[in-house]
Structures are given as structure tokens and as C-alpha cells.
């Protein structure tokens, strides 16, 4: 019952987001869609994804879109051709129908990966299966993922050509005493939350991704309040921080080759410690990369202003 309601809510919010002519309304409905998705992931027994969705959806995506939307020229729904509406409805419906048909026809899965996983969990050094998959059994994916994040960051840096002097970066300060005072309480709280999530990842839902998202949100909050991180810390330090996750991961992954094993095998005696170390570096890097993507966006606004 509650599941059907949630699905109907998802669909109606998605349709409203797409069809409403008012851009701000669409934005807020999109943020709410993220909130609803968080509930859906909890219902699906995927609390790790729910944590990431809550942190990324409200902390980063919402802020990014809000930031962009205020700059973009607003306009109403364009009057599109009748044929285009037809094609849009037709292809949307046919995709849905095809996917649903495929879902209902899906044969039983022959490979029981989860049983292999449970059998091997003791060897991984952590007791939470998702962390074990991310950082041990399928560590290759995670390595590539942080590489993709770095690529996105480099592409973004390539997009905006002018380098800003630091004075400009520090930006205007928010003259709200209450906000500034509460920041002193709130930022340590967010850092604590990120640490908790990182620590929790070894044996319960949580881990580097969620912690990195919360860390990025903390950096963004600082930036929004006029405490620009890139004006306080030198650029070199920031660059090192962005790279440290990938480099450390790669070093640990390839050092096993020296001992004559294949890439990405941890010595089983200290697999747990190594995973924690890599996760710490990954958290920093993910937080800094997401934050840098946000500031790049932010600076482009200044160029256009």
C-alpha cells in the first residue's frame, strides 16, 4: 500500500517537475523527488543508497541547481510542435511498456553472487557487505569511479579559462550574525557526522561515499557563508587533496604486484586497516572534488555577471 503510494508520488512529482512552466517550482519539486527517493531506498532495504541520496540530493544537487537557476534567464514552457509532443509521449510510453514487460518476464537469476559474497565476507577485512564489495571485491570499479570524478573536475577546469585572483574568490560576506554564529556549531557537527559515517562503514551502512558527500556539503556551506576554502588554503594543497584518494588507492593497489600478486589484492592480515586508510583518502578526495565542481560553477556566474 505504502509502496504504491510512493511510486505514484514519484511519478506525479516527476511529471510536475517536467511540465510546470515555472522554473523555481520545477526546482523545488525536483528536490522533493530526491527526498521521496530517499524514502524509497529505505523501503527497498538499501540504506547505504538512501544515505548517499539524502546527502547528495539536499546538500549538493539542490544547491547547485538553485545557484544556477537564479542566473539563467527564465522562460515559460516553449510551444512545441504537435508532432514533437506526440513523439515524446510515444517514446516515453513505449520505453515504460518495454521495460515493464522485460521486468515481468525476467528469468530467475542463475548466478548467486550474494552467496559467494557472504561466504567470502570474513576475508575482506570489513563486516559490512557493501563496503566489502566497493573496496575489496570490486575495488576496480571504485578506482575507476574516482578517476571519472577527477576527469569531470579537469574538464570543468578546462571549461573556464580565466584564473581568478584570490581576493575575488573570497567573495562577499554574508552579514547575518546568527548564521555566522551558528556556523561555529554547525560545521564541526557536519565534520563529526562525516567521520561517524566513515567509521560506521566498516560494519553498518555508511562509508567513503556518504562521508565524502557530507564533507562536500560542509565545504559548500562554508563557501556560501563567505569562508572560501580556496582563499584560506593554498591552491597546491587543494590540488594534493583532490588527487590523494586516487593516488593512494593506485599505490596500494599496485604495491600488491610487487609481492607477486595480481592488481588490487590486499594482504589479508591488514586488509581492514588498508581499507580504512583508502576510505579516509577517498572521503577527502570526493569531498574536495564535489566542492571544486561547485566552486567552478559559482565562479562562472561571476564571469557572466
Amino acid at each position: 500500500m505504502i509502496d504504491l503510494l510512493l511510486v505514484c508520488g514519484l511519478w506525479s512529482l516527476a511529471l510536475t517537475t517536467l511540465l510546470t512552466p515555472n522554473a523555481f517550482r520545477a526546482l523545488v519539486f525536483f528536490i522533493l523527488l530526491g527526498l521521496l527517493l530517499t524514502l524509497v531506498w529505505i523501503r527497498l532495504d538499501a540504506p547505504d543508497i538512501a544515505l548517499a541520496e539524502a546527502a547528495l540530493g539536499t546538500g549538493i544537487t539542490g544547491v547547485l541547481l538553485l545557484d544556477t537557476l537564479k542566473q539563467q534567464p527564465q522562460h515559460a514552457l516553449l510551444c512545441v510542435h504537435r508532432t514533437r509532443i506526440f513523439w515524446a509521449v510515444f517514446s516515453g510510453l513505449s520505453l515504460t511498456l518495454a521495460l515493464s514487460w522485460a521486468l515481468l518476464q525476467a528469468p530467475a537469476m542463475p548466478i548467486a553472487l550474494d552467496q559467494t559474497l557472504t561466504a567470502q565476507l570474513d576475508a575482506s577485512g570489513v563486516s559490512h557487505p557493501i563496503t566489502a564489495v566497493l573496496l575489496n571485491f570490486r575495488a576496480y570499479d571504485t578506482l575507476l569511479e574516482i578517476g571519472v570524478l577527477l576527469l569531470a573536475l579537469f574538464a570543468g577546469q578546462g571549461l573556464h579559462e580565466r584564473q581568478h585572483p584570490l581576493e575575488q574568490l573570497s567573495g562577499a560576506q554574508l552579514h547575518n550574525p546568527f548564521l555566522r554564529a551558528s556556523l561555529a556549531l554547525w560545521l564541526p557537527g557536519m565534520l563529526l557526522l562525516a567521520t561517524y559515517l566513515l567509521w560506521a562503514g566498516a560494519h553498518q551502512p555508511g562509508g567513503a561515499f556518504q562521508a565524502g558527500a557530507v564533507l562536500a556539503a560542509a565545504f559548500i556551506l562554508m563557501h556560501l557563508c563567505g569562508l572560501a576554502l580556496d582563499a584560506q588554503v593554498s591552491q597546491h594543497l587543494l590540488r594534493i587533496g583532490v588527487l590523494v584518494g586516487f593516488v593512494l588507492f593506485l599505490v596500494v593497489a599496485s604495491s600488491s604486484m610487487l609481492a607477486g600478486q595480481t592488481l588490487l589484492t590486499y594482504p589479508s592480515a591488514w586488509a581492514g586497516e588498508l581499507i580504512l586508510l583508502i576510505e579516509l583518502a577517498l572521503t577527502f578526495s570526493i569531498g574536495l572534488i564535489l566542492f571544486s565542481l561547485f566552486t567552478l560553477n559559482h565562479q562562472m556566474r561571476k564571469e557572466s555577471a
Binding site: D45, L56, L65, L69, Q72, T96, L117
Partner: protein, 100 residues
């Protein structure tokens, strides 16, 4: 009809809605939102289908989706930058179509 399958079907609907919006809109921001909907639908299908086939929690697709969500946010940020650059250069918020 278990919970997992309901949400997988919901994800299929979300995919369809995303594709619909992607084709319907000219505005690049709306297209980005539609694309994000498509992505969320895909994630729902992945996890929902795997778990409904198994009748329980399956950690492997969950880990995959977790990676995917973070990459999707980074891609969204990059796309927003591209959109801004385009708007700055061309003074319009949708792509020009020369062959119409």
C-alpha cells in the same frame, strides 16, 4: 508482486517519464533534470530487479548504484557548467537547431 518488483516497475515508469521530458523540452536545464530522472529510474530498476529475483537484500547492485549516484552528481555539475558556458557564449538557454 513484492515490494522490490513494485519499485522496479516504478523505476521503469520514471525512465519513461525522463525520456518523455528529454524529447519534449528545448530548455537545457529541463533536459538535464529529465536526464537525471532517467538515471534515477535506472538505479531503481537495477536494485529492484536484482532483489526481487533474489527475494532479499543483494549487496552487489547496491554498491554499483552507490558508485553511480556519486558519478551522476559529478556529471550533473559538469553539465551545468557546460550549460552556463553555452548560455554565456550564445545568449540562449537551448541549443540551436540548424536543420529545421
Amino acid at each position: 508482486m513484492n515490494t522490490y518488483l513494485i519499485f522496479a516497475l516504478g523505476g521503469a515508469g520514471l525512465c519513461g517519464i525522463g525520456l518523455f521530458g528529454f524529447i519534449l523540452h528545448d530548455d537545457l536545464l529541463r533536459r538535464l533534470i529529465a536526464f537525471n530522472l532517467l538515471g534515477s529510474g535506472t538505479f531503481l530498476i537495477l536494485v529492484g530487479l536484482a532483489q526481487s529475483g533474489r527475494g532479499g537484500v543483494d549487496a552487489v547492485p547496491q554498491a554499483l548504484v552507490l558508485t553511480g549516484i556519486v558519478v551522476a552528481v559529478a556529471a550533473t555539475a559538469l553539465t551545468l557548467m557546460l550549460i552556463r558556458r553555452w548560455t554565456q557564449l550564445s545568449q540562449q538557454s537551448h541549443l540551436t537547431e540548424e536543420d529545421e
